[in-house]
Symmetry: C2
Subunit: 147 residues, 2 copies
């Protein structure tokens, strides 16, 4: 059916398809490794890592949501789960009555530490081992252009 090409070369369409399929496949493998180790999903790690980096000030939910490219309602729910699980604290925001400030707590830092070894091995196995240094740099460069 894609033969009203107009302006996309076959190579371009193939590259697009590969980007979508392969990145999704690699990501699922990594998620599966986390799950196999009885650990929460990557989004928990990402959120906690951002909060760890933002120490000791913490982050507003909307800041976290920008960094993670999540929809607002998804961030609202993710912070719910993280707070319910005891990995973050939510403090009232003094300069904005609507807002809150999210801070990682010590349980959250513990989770990061438990997740990282598994995550690291998964990245190594499903990503890093398949590319040498130059290739990694090249991939990185191409991806940046897409941003």
């Amino acid at each position: 059916m894609p033969n009203e090409k107009r302006d996309l070369s076959d190579e371009t369409v193939t590259a697009w398809a590969r980007l979508v399929r392969i990145s999704q496949a690699v990501l699922s493998k990594v998620e599966a490794d986390l799950k196999a180790a009885d650990l929460p999903p990557l989004s928990w790690y990402d959120a906690l890592l951002e909060l760890e980096r933002a120490r000791p000030d913490g982050l507003r939910p909307y800041q976290l949501q920008e960094r993670m490219l999540l929809a607002q309602y998804n961030m609202s729910r993710l912070t719910d789960r993280l707070a319910k699980a005891g990995y973050i604290e939510r403090e009232d925001c003094s300069d904005d009555g609507r807002g809150q400030i999210l801070k990682i707590d010590s349980a959250g830092r513990g989770l990061l530490q438990r997740m990282w070894p598994v995550y690291r091995k998964a990245i190594a196995a499903h990503f890093a081992e398949k590319l040498d240094t130059d290739e990694t740099a090249a991939l990185s460069r191409m991806l940046i252009k897409l941003r």
Copy 2:
């Protein structure tokens, strides 16, 4: 926290993070364009395209699910929706009593034709325009190594 590096360089971790974030961001933009045109999600297109390519024999659900890297239960549900929407036909499989054969019908082909112009423009805008020919080829090459 990632400072028990062990064997992953910063560049590797950065490249990994970019792969996950950027491919997801680009994909969402494309999905959003489809939705804005009142069209179904990409997975419908992918499934119908595979069935179009498999004409006139059609495909077994498990074959489609391998090509699309979907979980079995997700394929079962996707075919449900596609059939309910009238885009595919499910025939009994003569050589396997459990099985069925999925075939795209003319409404399905019509949907492919309506989706492709929107999809093509979205790929162009969010992907193709950001890379030249060499860069596209380079990205494609790196992705293949990840498979």
